[in-house]
């Protein structure tokens, strides 16, 4: 089972107040941002703050990701030099292409770093090359879709309904699923539109994303809730698995539950739901959901 990544929260890399409390918002991952949220004059300051932060603070139960500046900028090399030996989990590489992923992998390998790579797919070329980008190194554990920059590259407006991203979303999900890697949806940027966030997140879940990025802590609860299996889903999944075990003992390949045929895809879906539920702590290792 991959690491749980329902919600990923961006934190500006030069804001001590947000950084020191970054793990209190219940996001599964926090993304310390050295790119867009840090002005050009403060890149050095943010790198230094990150280094001192990681020396002083260990976040609890959260994946620590750092978004560096893009490969083609002069800040990229300085970012990597500053963070390649820090105690972080993952680097988020913006505007990723095959060349930049291979370069980052090489730099990390030279210092025997265990830091993983997540690629940010936010160009039209990146969308077209996404399978090969993800497959460029085993160090790459997944991708995030960057809708805002992608729309600039596509020369279209970013809308709340998101039709302009439909092709990119389905394509990156397919590539990531084909390679068994994580796939994270772009943030919903109107932080005052709760209904829009709910609709956008449900859509992302329904087409196969593992989770969704966010730029505001207020969105985390909603995103987590949507990407968490419901009690009804967990109970049904548990019954499917139990019925499957019984059928196997009786030598049956296909069986029915509540009058519906249960075959391999249904069983696999049930196993995925139970694995997520166990990862979140909604059920114990024996499969009993808490409170029952």
């Amino acid at each position: 089972m991959n690491r749980l990544r329902r919600s990923l929260l961006f934190i500006p890399g030069n804001s001590p107040g947000m950084l020191q409390n970054a793990d209190v918002f219940d996001a599964d991952s926090i993304i310390i941002d050295l790119e867009d949220s840090v002005s050009i004059d403060e890149k050095d300051s943010a790198r230094c703050l990150l280094k001192e932060l990681t020396n002083a603070i260990s976040y609890q139960n959260v994946e620590t990701i750092v978004r560096v500046n893009p490969f083609e900028t002069k800040y990229y090399e300085q970012d990597i030099d500053a963070i390649k030996s820090l105690g972080i989990d993952t680097i988020l590489l913006p505007k990723a292409d095959i060349q930049s992923v291979k370069d980052l992998d090489k730099r990390l390998s030279l210092v025997n770093s265990r830091i993983k790579i997540m690629v940010l797919i936010e160009t039209a070329l990146g969308v077209e090359q996404v399978f090969n980008i993800l497959n460029a190194t085993p160090r790459c554990i997944g991708l995030m879709l960057g809708g805002e920059d992608l729309c600039v590259d596509l020369m279209c407006e970013r809308s709340k309904s998101g039709e302009e991203l439909l092709y990119a979303r389905t394509r990156v999900v397919n590539a990531a699923r084909a390679l068994k890697k994580s796939v994270i949806d772009t943030p919903f940027t109107d932080t005052s539109d709760e209904e829009g966030l709910i609709n956008d997140t449900i859509f992302a879940k329904n087409i196969g994303f593992n989770g969704k990025a966010s730029i505001n802590p207020r969105q985390i609860h909603t995103i987590n809730r949507i990407f968490t299996p419901s009690i009804q889903e967990i109970k049904y999944a548990k019954r499917v698995i139990e019925a499957n075990e019984k059928a196997l003992k009786e030598g049956k390949g296909v069986f029915s539950l509540d009058g519906k045929m249960v075959d391999l895809p249904v069983i696999k879906r049930a196993e995925i739901i139970m694995a997520i539920a166990k990862n979140i702590g909604l059920v114990n290792m024996s499969g009993d959901n808490h409170g029952n």
Binding site: S15, P16, G17, Q20, D44, L49, K51
Partner: protein, 89 residues
Amino acid sequence: MELLKPSKAGTYESNDIYIMLFPGQGKTSIELESVVFDTFGSQIKSVIQDVLEEYGIQNVMVKAVDKGALDFTIRARMITAIIRGASNE
């Protein structure tokens, strides 16, 4: 490391500290303004002094305006100001 010019780092935002360094003062002094001066003033000055010693900086006037920064932030802002002051750029 040698400071070649005045430098600064940090912000006036909550949980941050604004550091200004003025080299060539003949002696080292620390002028601190803090929202938590009574409780943590000596601790903040101690962190500033430690970083100055770590980087071998002498004869500098440090002016710091603290807005409740933790030690890691004080260290980071001091180091950034020192590196900026030591650069010819």
